[in-house]
Structure formats: C-alpha cells, structure tokens
C-alpha cells in the first residue's frame, strides 16, 4: 500500500508528466526540423520509441495480472499477436489491388489459389469493425480460457505452463497456410491505413501519438483499478487467496475480469504494433516471446505499474544496442540479466530504487516495505 501511494507521489506525477511530454516532443522535432539539423530526430528513432511503447503497454497489461493478482501468464504473446492479426486483416484489405498479383485478395491467398475470402474475413475492410475485433477476439479467447482455468482453480505454476501450451498451440495453428492468416510469413507489405500512406511521416507520427496516448491512458486506468476496492481484492487474491474466500469473496469473477482486461490491453498493444513495425507473423506467439514480456516486467519491477514500462524500455533499448554492437552476445546478456535480477533484485529496478535512495545523502531513510509474496 505504501508502495502504491509513494509511487504516485507528487514527484512521481511530475516525472511521469515530464516523460510524457518528452515522448510527445520527439515526433514534433522529427517533423519540424529537416535532416541534418542538430534538433532533428530521425524517423528510425521515432519508430523505435513507438515500438517500445507498444511493448511497454503489453508489459503494463502483464503487470496487472502478475504483479497485482499473482497470475503469471506465459501466453500474453498470444493476445498481443491476436490483436495484431485483427488489425493486420484490415491493413491487408487496405492494400487493395496494389499487391504483386494485382488481385483484391492478399498475395498469400492468390498464391494458395483461393478464389474468395474465408468467412472470418467478412467485413474486415471496415476499419472500425477490425478495431472491434482487436478487442473482442482476444477478449473472448481470454475469457473462455480463463473461465475454464480459474473455475477449476488451476493456479501458480500449472496456470503458467498451460498458458504456455496455449500460445504454443496457437503458434502451430497460425504457421499453417490453410488457416488463412498468411502462414509462415504472416501479414506484411502494408500500404495504407484509413486512406493514408502508411510510410508517410505524418501517418507514422499519428500512430506514434496514438500509442503514447493509449499507453498513458492505460497506465492511469490501471492505477485507478489497483487503487480501487477492486484492486485491493486483486491483491488479496495474490497474497492470500484462501483467506479471501473464507471472508466471502469469490475470486473467480475478479480473476476473470482482470485476466480478460489484461488480454485486451495486450491486444491493443499488438494492434498498435503492426502498422508501426509493418509485419506480424506467428513467431510473435512463440513461447520465448511471451517469456520475454515477463522479463520486462520482472526487470522493471512487478507490482509497480511504472516498473514494467521502464523494464520494457530498458530491455528493448539494451537489445537494440546489443544486437547491433555484439549480436552474438545478446542471449548471454539477457540470460545473465535475468538470473541476476531473480537472484539479487527480486523487486526489479523500480522496487530497488528506495533501497538505493536510502544510501543517498540528504534523504530520510524510507521504511522498508514488507517483502511481498512471490
């Protein structure tokens, strides 16, 4: 409780506002100054930060279930990819006849000699319908899966392993050509979104700003949830589920709610990710990708909301630099980082900050918060 309020102290709000402003300033600098100007920000940098914000939104969604409700999902990559595929369907339709075969159908369908769109592609040429799919499909998948899993009280490790199997099964399914989602290659070669060229600087900046707005909005929403009575119940589920049941709460509804909400947020992150990165394929559903999301949360500090965002930026920033500078060493670095964080920084970067602050001069020692249950 102490942590939740201290994290959003006046100072924290100020830092948050400053970060948001700085992030919003990036694309303005990109558009306002020409190439070569010292204040110019490259399109690559804007794209990179936009991508990181999508990851951060996914990490935030994961923190809501893992950090606050104690449910570790190893399958959030599935929801991320489902959101991405739902948006990708619209983007594929928007290519129109500009594909290599000049057909209304996407290239991969022409290649498979399909004559028409399968039924589940109906209406996907409407942007808002696809946006609805982005929310509904992963939401429904999460709800049904969660209902089965939570009802029979699968929890802890078992839940994690089953979610991993779920995303693995989905990956196998999407790798198939006859699933109708482009098989191996997934969706790519997008041209337009809402009639605008997807590569135009203006479109890219708009997507970036939309991502920023949704990330900040989601952060505020999550903060409101975890500080509300609902959030207290969720933390009760995390810390002492059986005691909560004895008091008279039924954890099923609460778990199901937060699980579904988290999946939807993750799907939104995926939907924002596709147009900015320009590709979605089944490898996003590989178990390793979902675990990597968990890494962001753990390294940033779970149960802190802001921590996962910091973690996503830190790990992916590190990854961008490392894979360019020492491509062979990245897995060593990530692996080592992970072992060290689990062994020595159980509460991640943000959870460790107060401990560091204690040693700084001119600060009153902060009362250590109670170690939270794993």
């Amino acid at each position: 409780m102490n942590r939740t309020s201290s994290l959003f102290s006046r100072r924290a709000w100020a830092v948050l506002a400053a970060c948001t402003l700085a992030a919003a300033l990036l694309p303005v600098l990109h558009l306002a100054f020409p190439d070569g100007h010292p204040l110019h920000v490259s399109g690559y940098a804007v794209g990179l930060v936009g991508k990181f914000m999508c990851y951060a939104l996914a990490a935030l969604a994961l923190d809501l279930v893992w950090g606050y409700t104690g449910i570790l999902s190893l399958g959030h990559g599935l929801f991320f990819a489902l959101g991405a595929y739902a948006h990708g369907m619209y983007l594929m339709r928007a290519i129109g006849r500009d594909g290599s075969y000049g057909s209304v159908l996407p290239d991969f369908m022409v290649f498979l000699d399909w004559k028409d769109y399968p039924w589940y592609w109906a209406f996907t040429d409407h942007f808002w319908y696809c946006m609805l799919l982005v929310v509904l499909v992963p939401g429904l998948v999460a709800f049904v899966f969660g209902w089965f899993a939570f009802r029979s009280r699968i929890k802890g490790v078992y839940f994690s392993i089953i979610t991993q199997a779920l995303t693995y099964a989905a990956m196998l399914l999407f790798f198939r050509n006859d699933t109708g989602f482009g098989g191996n290659n997934g969706f790519t070669d997008f041209r337009r979104i809402l009639g605008q060229s997807i590569t135009a600087p203006g479109t890219r900046v708009a997507l970036y700003l939309a991502t920023l707005a949704l990330l900040v909005g989601a952060l505020l929403l999550c903060r409101w949830i975890v500080r509300s009575k609902l959030g207290r119940v969720l933390q009760g589920v995390r810390d002492a589920e059986s005691r909560l049941m004895f008091i008279g709460y039924d954890p099923l509804a609460f778990k199901l709610f937060v699980w579904t909400l988290s999946a939807v947020l993750c799907a939104v992150a995926g939907a924002l990710y596709v147009p900015q990165v320009g590709i979605i394929n089944p490898s996003e559903m590989s178990p390793a990708n979902s675990i990597e999301m968990v890494v962001w949360v753990a390294i940033g500090g779970r149960g802190t909301l802001v921590g996962p965002i910091v973690g996503a930026f830190a790990v992916n920033g590190l990854k961008s630099w490392f894979t360019a500078a020492f491509p062979d060493l990245w897995l060593f670095a990530l692996g080592l980082l992970f072992i060290l964080v689990t062994l020595f920084m159980r509460r991640g970067i943000l959870g460790t900050l107060p401990a560091i602050a204690r040693f700084l001069p001119g600060r009153r020692p902060v009362v250590a918060t109670k170690e939270e249950a794993a």
Partner: protein, 528 residues
C-alpha cells in the same frame, strides 16, 4: 523394355533345366562389343539364359562399366587394373587399345531385368529375397508367371516361398484363363498388399464371370481388413515409440519439477547437451577409433549422463539452491540459463545442425505382416526408455540416495533433523534429473536434428507430460507419455501432424479441468 523383359524371362524359363556353371561361349559375348543395338540386347538375354554365376559376373560388369572389348573382339572384365577374360575367367594383362563397352539406357534396363530374374535362382537367400522384393515393386506381368513358378518349385525357404506364391498369383491375375484367374484371386486373399487394390477393383467392374467377381470382392475385403489391421498395429507401435521419446524427454523433468518443485525451463537445453555429447563422442570415435565407430553410442550414454549431471550440479549450486520454494522464480532464472546454454552451444558448435549418424546396427528394421516394417532405431529407443525408467525406479526405491530423496521431498525439515544432508541431496537430485535429460538427449540425437534449438522443441511437450501424469509420480509420467504418444499417432492420419498436436494441447487443457492434479494425485514439495 517391357516386351523385352517378357522375352527374356521366357527364354530364361526355357533354359532353366540346363542351368550349369559352364564357361561362357565367346560367341555369346561377341555382339556386346558390336554396334547393333538389337543384337546387343538379344546377347544379354542369351547370356542371362545360361543362368550361371559367370553370366551374373559379366552382366554386373556391364552395368558397372567394367566391361571392355579388345580390337580382336575379346571381351574382358577390367576391375582394379586387373583384366579377366569374360569367357574363360582367366586373368590377363590389360591390353592396349581396349575400348569400354558402351551401355545406353535400353541396354541398362535389359541388364537390370536380367539380373533380377537371375537373382531369383541365386544360391544365397538374401539375394533371392532382394530379387523378390524388387519384383514386388514392379508391375505384375503375366509373362513372368512361368519363371516365377519354376523359382517357386525350386525354393526351399518358406518365407520366400510365400512371397513367390503371391507374385505368381499377382501375375496370374491377368491370365487369359478364367480358372487360373479365379485361383489367383483366391490365393491373394492372404495378401496384405494395398497395391493390388486397383487391379482387384477393376475386376469387380470389368470381369464377365460372376463367381470371379464375387471372389475378387471377397479378396478385396480381406486385403482391406489386413491393411486396416496393419495400420492399427503400426499406429500402436509408432505411438509407443513416440511415447518413449516423450518419456525420455520428460523423465528428468519429472524429477526436477515433480519431486523438487523446480520449473526447469533449461531442461530442454540439458537434452540438447546430451545430444551434443553424443555428437562429440561420435567425432572422437571417428577420429581415434575408426574401426569401432559404430560403438560410439555405447560410450555416449555414460558420457552424456555425466556431462549433463555435472552441468545440473553446477546450476543447482550456483543458481537454483537460492530459489527453493519460489517456483515462479526458478522458472525465470532457469529460462535465463537456457538462453545462455543455447548461445554457448551456438558459439562452440555453430548455429547449424550437426550430423549424428545412426550406427549400422540400428538401421533397417523388422518386417512383420508383410508390408509393416518396424525400424530398429525405434525399437531400440523403446527398449532404452524401458531400461531408463527401470533404472530410475531402482535408484529412487532401492538405494540410500533414493530413500533420502523421498525423505527430503516429503518432509524436508524432519529429514534435516534426523541428519539427512538436505543440501547435498538437493544437489544430487537435480543432478540426477539433469543426467537423465542427458540420456534422453542421446536418444533424441538418433531420431532427429541435433542443433541449438533442439531443447526448445521438446520443452512444452515435456511439461505437458509431467502435468498430465501428475507431479511427482513416475508411473504417471510413464502413462502420460505413452498416452500422449498414442493419441498423437492415432490422430495424425485423421487430422494431420499439426492439428494432432493442437488437439492434444486442447485435450490436456480440458483434462486438467477434470483432474487438476494429473493422472495421479500430487505428493511432493509443491503441495499447497
């Protein structure tokens, strides 16, 4: 080639009683060196008709481009700079100006057909069997019937005899005599050869004789029944085989996850280490003991166990021992370990798959019920899995270490109080689980690709087996693995490999709904 083959076999059958190992008449060989294609093919037929081993030698030499003709018209077999007179079998110096006998495709076909016909009469059983197999692979031909009958009469081996009888019947199906056809159709009811179906199906519609049609229908049903039975037996076998693979992959995990409560995401990489140890053993044997190269596998077993055991012990002492009782964190830390192990292997051995060969004694298979072949390497893995399970059971139930392992598992504090060195037992248990993973890796190296990603492809399956079987239960793991293997193999023909896998995952998810603790109840450190 077809009519030619018929002629050839007809000639052959006529000459059968005259078979003798007499030297070849040079006049028979002469046309081979000539230019007239028809004469050359006819010469091949006449040479084959002599039926002796000399004829086989000459024809084989012709096929191997080892036949030369001197300007004088003498035909010689030249191998390893050593010339032999094809007619008399005497060794000669290689003469100057000798020209190789040119073999075109037509001649090559004639020679091959002649050789497989000759082989039916060969003295060695293996050769005759191979000839039968090669004839089985060809289309049925009524002209073969006389020769096949002759061979059948001479045959002493019951197995070959039965197959020859089938071949005779198959050839007789096209006979012009209805009585012969009827006898053939009836005889074929014993066959399980699905390749006969189109021919019989055609008889059902085209055959004028009603009795024959009925017989063809009965035979067709009998064949279909046999094919279906073979399919079921085959599926059962391949299911057990896949189950054994899953079992070997999951058995180590059943110990580290099941008994110790550690979610070891690096388990797949321990399998990979076992497979790479096998590869290293193979390379060492090839380099230092090329004569015994086929026995590298025997050395690889203890080596893989020890290497994986050592890696496991190091991991347990350095990372995992700090995380007991925090399963989710063991998951995260071991995942970090798995990334590092994978990259380490990539750095040392390269990102490409390495080649691990089956030893010669593991290639081939046992033929059961005609068309069903059970490969030796699959059988070996089933036996191996059974041995490993027996060994693990013995270690856990009949040794002091096993007693301590179970004691620590059931009540750590009490075990500690009565003097069980719990720290060391933890180390040994994790090492044991890892070592078994290493053994699993040896088995996997015999079945598929050995590469840095090997572990990743088994990790989800392994966890499914352990979760399905029930944590901490050896019997559950065995049943879970075999059950998954069987379900998979029976679904595969219906739904395809990928859909079968997806179905299984769905089945497991639903199953866990009903029995959250797996097939067998939960006992162990992770009991809540």
């Amino acid at each position: 080639m077809k009519p030619l083959f018929k002629n050839l076999l007809a000639t052959l059958s006529l000459c059968l009683p005259l078979l003798a190992n007499a030297a070849l008449d040079p006049a028979l060989l002469q046309p081979l060196a000539g230019d007239d294609p028809d004469a050359r093919v006819a010469a091949v037929a006449r040479i084959a008709a002599t039926g002796g081993s000399d004829a086989r030698q000459v024809l084989q030499a012709l096929l191997d481009d080892a036949l030369v003709a001197t300007p004088a018209g003498q035909v010689l077999i030249v191998r390893d700079d050593q010339a032999i007179d094809a007619a008399t079998g005497k060794a000669l110096p290689v003469p100057d100006g000798a020209d190789g006998v040119v073999v075109n495709n037509r001649l090559r076909g004639a020679v091959q057909a002649a050789l497989s016909g000759l082989a039916l009469l060969a003295p060695a059983r293996d050769e005759r069997l191979a000839a039968v197999h090669s004839l089985q692979a060809q289309d049925a031909d009524p002209a073969q019937a006389p020769l096949l009958r002759q061979a059948l009469a001479r045959e002493t081996d019951t197995d070959i005899k039965a197959q020859l009888a089938q071949l005779v019947a198959r050839a007789d199906l096209e006979s012009s005599d209805p009585a012969t056809r009827l006898a053939a159709v009836t005889a074929l009811a014993d066959s399980g050869d699905a390749a006969l179906r189109p021919q019989l199906q055609a008889m059902l519609t085209e055959e004028p004789d009603a009795a024959l049609r009925a017989a063809a229908g009965a035979t067709l049903r009998a064949i279909d029944g046999r094919v279906a039975r073979n399919e079921v037996i085959g599926n059962l076998f391949y299911g057990v085989s896949l189950g054994s693979v899953l079992l070997l992959a999951a058995l180590g995990l059943a110990i580290t996850f099941g008994l110790m409560g550690i979610i070891n995401m690096a388990h797949g990489e321990l399998l990979m280490i076992g497979a790479y140890t096998t590869y290293v053993c193979q390379s060492l044997f090839r380099h230092y003991l090329p004569g015994a190269a086929d026995w590298y596998l025997v050395a690889a077993l203890p080596a893989a166990f020890l290497v994986a055991f050592a890696v496991g012990v190091v991991l347990e002492r350095s990372v995992i021992r700090w995380l007991y009782g925090r399963p989710l964190e063991t998951l995260l830390a071991t995942w970090g370990i798995s990334l590092m192990l994978m990259q380490a292997v990539r750095t040392v051995f390269g990102a490409q798959n390495v080649e691990v060969a089956n030893p010669a004694w593991m290639s081939g298979g046992v033929t059961v019920l005609g068309s069903l072949v059970l490969p030796y390497n699959r059988i070996a893995i089933i036996v191996f899995a059974a041995l490993v399970v027996a060994a693990v059971w013995l270690v856990l139930n009949r040794t002091r270490l096993g007693l301590f392992v179970r004691a620590v598992m059931q009540n750590r504090r009490m075990a500690d109080c009565v003097g069980v060195p719990t720290g060391r037992i933890d180390m040994m248990t994790f090492g044991l689980g890892s070592g078994i993973a290493g053994l699993g890796g040896v088995a996997l190296s015999q079945l598929g690709n050995v590469g840095p990603d090997l572990g990743q492809s088994y990790i989800v399956d392994s966890f499914m087996v352990v979760v399905l079987g029930g944590v901490g239960q050896l019997a559950g793991t065995v049943l879970g693995a075999l059950g998954l293997g069987e379900i998979n193999k029976f679904l595969e023909p219906v739904a395809g490999a990928v859909m079968a896998k997806i179905c299984i995952l769905v089945v497991i998810i639903v199953f866990i709904q009903r029995r959250p603790q797996g097939l067998f109840a939960l006992k162990g450190r992770s009991v809540e």
